[in-house]
Amino acid sequence: MDPPIYYSKAEFIETDTGNKVSRRATIAGPQNIILGGKTIISSGAIIRGDLRRTGPGHAVVISLGRYCLVGEGCVMRPPYKTYRGNFNYYPMKIGDHVHIGANSVVEAATIGNHVEIGKNCVIGKFTIIKDCAKIADNTIVPPNTVIPALSLFAGSPGRFIEDLPESTQEMVEAQTKQFYTRFQPLER
């Protein structure tokens, strides 16, 4: 029903699993990043897969689920801390059907499924966002915040505003799937 969202075919790389990644996005350390499939990385986004945990072996730094959207100009950076004198980065795990609005900075530790993050948000280090939560536009979530399931957060610092309706999961799922089908290439 909604009109398609066009992108220029030359700009995006489509993977076998349907991920669409802009050539204008900065993907650092791609070997440490997992995309679940049908996930869109918009232009200008920065994903820091290079900030990995010190130590030998392979390490997943950032994992995104299916039907996610990393908006334009977003920065995805794994959280870090100095624990017992050792500085380290910690992995960031993001579930399915997660949309992150344009120009948001995300340093969360865990983001559940069906989460909506608005535009121009700052999600502080080690934030835990549970399933079906929603962060309104321009929200500043301070470090170590826990955002419970089905809650709307807004403001600076981000505060609980209200409970979301029971059908949020279905709504977000339909919306993210629809967004992926609307996101269509345009030959030029």
């Binding site: 200008g44 826990v146 029971e166």
Partner: protein, 572 residues
């Protein structure tokens, strides 16, 4: 399964409206006062459809949409519930709510309801809220690790040297400022609750509670009198109430904070920054007159949240029952209206075209900036004195095909007479702002299914006849031979798109907003479709039962751009 078991007349039902459908176009003029309609709903630019819940009104028909108060009767579809027993729509305003689980929103611990009262509805673990900015506080040691570059690090771990204190990551408030420090980083709530419990206000409260304790059974019986199984309040048992003597004299209590009266004035005189005074928001959760100095604010234990189950107000059947686990988003029972009523979305083709054009043009540019351009775009708004088509897409959530009929709500005779009575002169001078045409013949929507089989359904309902009828009707009304705008436009899977048309008057202003009655019929030939084995013989013997359900919606197409604005646009 998504089938209705019986067909009663619910409150959301308008049985008389089915007879209104005539064979040709149903054109209705709606009068709308420009002053009332203008600012309401203007915040949202996109056209919308909201559903009516009849809980606020005595009649099944919704209030006229131009009244600002009507917005409280209409809700987005996804927030509504559906009671199968009553066969009616329920909203958050009318359902009965009960708590099923308590949990802390920070540590996500599920608190047993027995300890909720003892812990005063707040988290009794290590969760605290900043009294200054309401952020969560972290426990930090008094020796923050030195950073090599000399910048202030955000202390996050509770490992280190005592004394420990609470620190806010956001506003940098810390509990050492108000003299609260801890010897060990665990069990802080218990340590703080000791302070809380020895405060004069909570001691007074405990005393009051003790005093009223004997009367509580009687009082709670009175409160619970509507609940079946609980005996009625008998006022004869507890009328002799002894006089209460307060612990603290009221005169001394008023001087509890900084000292009250003159002391407060004195303090205000020597104020250097506004932030020294605690804002009302920071103080009003305390039950007692507290100091208004910001430096006296104490860390707050985090109030608990709850998961709630919801019941139908009429028959007390459960509509929503969440899973016990606090962070689960699944439900044991979830009767939401979206599974019963067709979902309706409305679009304005001319606005959509303009938007698509803008999107093509701005391709490569940031789409984040694009929506701002659309607002001022001349193609998006609706100008006075023009005619616009609109599309309604209806999605069938049922496993049965349905026949839908749309009609614009007629104005009540009573409201019509009152408007002519109080302002006949002005009403006559102004023509009705807009007229809406909708297809009047009913149209089918195919069943919701995992594997789509809609060819059969089309044959069953004789779709072609309907389409021709609706199309002809549209042309008759318009008097021109152009593309059909009113009628069934498209059918795919369980979605049917129908077109409507709105004619906006020359002097019109305000919002194009009208109430629409949606009635649909569905076959419920099998009362228990999930139990298939025994169902088939009964199904063959019984004739298919046709049931009808009707509900009201309000369609908001957006604001009309008045004539003056048009001229301004063309000049600039």
């Amino acid at each position: 399964m998504l089938k209705r078991s019986e067909d009663e007349d619910g409150p959301g039902r308008g049985p008389h409206d089915l007879r209104d459908a005539s064979t040709c176009q149903d054109v209705l003029s709606l009068s709308i006062s420009s002053t009332a309609g203008y600012p309401v709903g203007g915040t949202e630019m996109a056209p919308s459809v909201q559903y009516h819940c009849a809980c606020l009104s005595s009649s099944p028909a919704p209030p006229p949409p131009h009244l600002p108060s009507s917005s409280s009767s209409f809700h987005p579809l996804h927030t509504l519930f559906f009671c199968e027993e009553c066969d009616a729509v329920r909203c958050n305003r009318c359902v009965a709510v009960e708590v099923s689980t308590y949990y802390c929103p920070n540590c996500l611990f599920e608190v047993p309801s027995a300890s909720v009262r003892a812990e005063k509805n707040r988290c009794a673990r290590n969760c605290f809220m900043c009294p200054n900015c309401r952020n969560t506080l972290s426990v930090v040691p008094s020796d923050p690790p030195e950073n090599s570059d000399g910048r202030l690090t955000v202390p996050i771990s509770a490992v280190g040297e005592p004394p420990f204190f609470l620190y806010c990551n956001h506003c940098r408030w810390d509990s050492a400022e108000v003299g609260i420090t801890f010897e060990k980083p665990t069990g802080l709530a218990a340590q703080l609750q000791k302070f809380e419990d020895s405060a004069p206000d909570s001691l007074e409260f405990d005393r009051l509670k003790e005093h009223f304790e004997p009367f509580i059974p009687a009082a709670s019986a009175a409160l619970a009198r509507d609940i079946p199984g609980v005996s009625k309040y008998n006022p004869s048992q507890g009328d002799e109430m002894t006089e209460y003597r307060s612990r603290v004299d009221i005169a001394t209590a008023s001087r509890m904070g900084t000292g009250g009266g003159d002391a407060d004035v004195e303090y205000m005189r020597h104020l250097e920054t506004v932030s020294e005074v605690a804002s009302l928001n920071q103080r009003w959760t305390s039950s007692w007159a507290t100091s208004f100095q910001a430096r006296d604010l104490k860390p707050l234990r985090i109030p608990l949240h709850s998961k709630r189950s919801k019941r139908c107000p009429a028959c007390t059947h459960i509509l929503i029952k969440p899973e016990q686990k606090a962070q689960s988003v699944r439900y044991k029972i979830k009767l939401v209206a979206a599974n019963y009523l067709p979902a309706i979305t409305v679009t304005l083709p001319h606005a959509q075209q303009a938007q698509a054009e803008a999107a093509r043009r701005s391709l490569g540019k940031s789409t984040a900036a694009a929506p701002e351009d659309d607002r001022g775009g001349s193609g998006v708004g609706m100008h006075a004195g023009k005619t616009y088509p609109f599309h309604l897409a209806l999605t069938n959530p049922l496993y049965d095909p349905i026949q839908v009929r749309l009609s614009v709500q007629r104005m009540h005779v009573s409201t019509a007479t009152t408007t002519s009575a109080d302002g006949s002169a002005t009403e006559k001078a102004r023509r009705p702002p807009f007229a809406v045409s909708l297809p009047t013949s009913s149209f089918p929507i195919a069943a919701f299914a995992e594997a789509w089989e809609y060819e059969d359904d089309e044959d069953m309902f004789g779709v072609d006849d309907d389409e021709v009828g609706a199309g002809r009707g549209g042309r008759e009304k318009d008097g021109r031979g152009k593309v059909k705008t009113v009628g069934v436009l498209e059918k795919r899977a369980n979605v049917t798109v129908v077109g409507g048309e709105v004619v906006i008057g020359k002097e019109a202003r305000g919002a194009v907003k009208f109430n629409m009655l949606v009635s649909y019929t569905y076959r419920s030939d099998d009362p228990a479709p999930s139990e298939g084995n025994d169902g088939s013989p009964t199904k063959s013997t019984k004739p298919p039962e046709i049931k009808t359900f009707a509900f009201y919606t309000v369609v908001d197409l957006g604001l009309i751009i008045p004539r003056e604005d048009v001229r301004l646009d063309s000049e600039s």
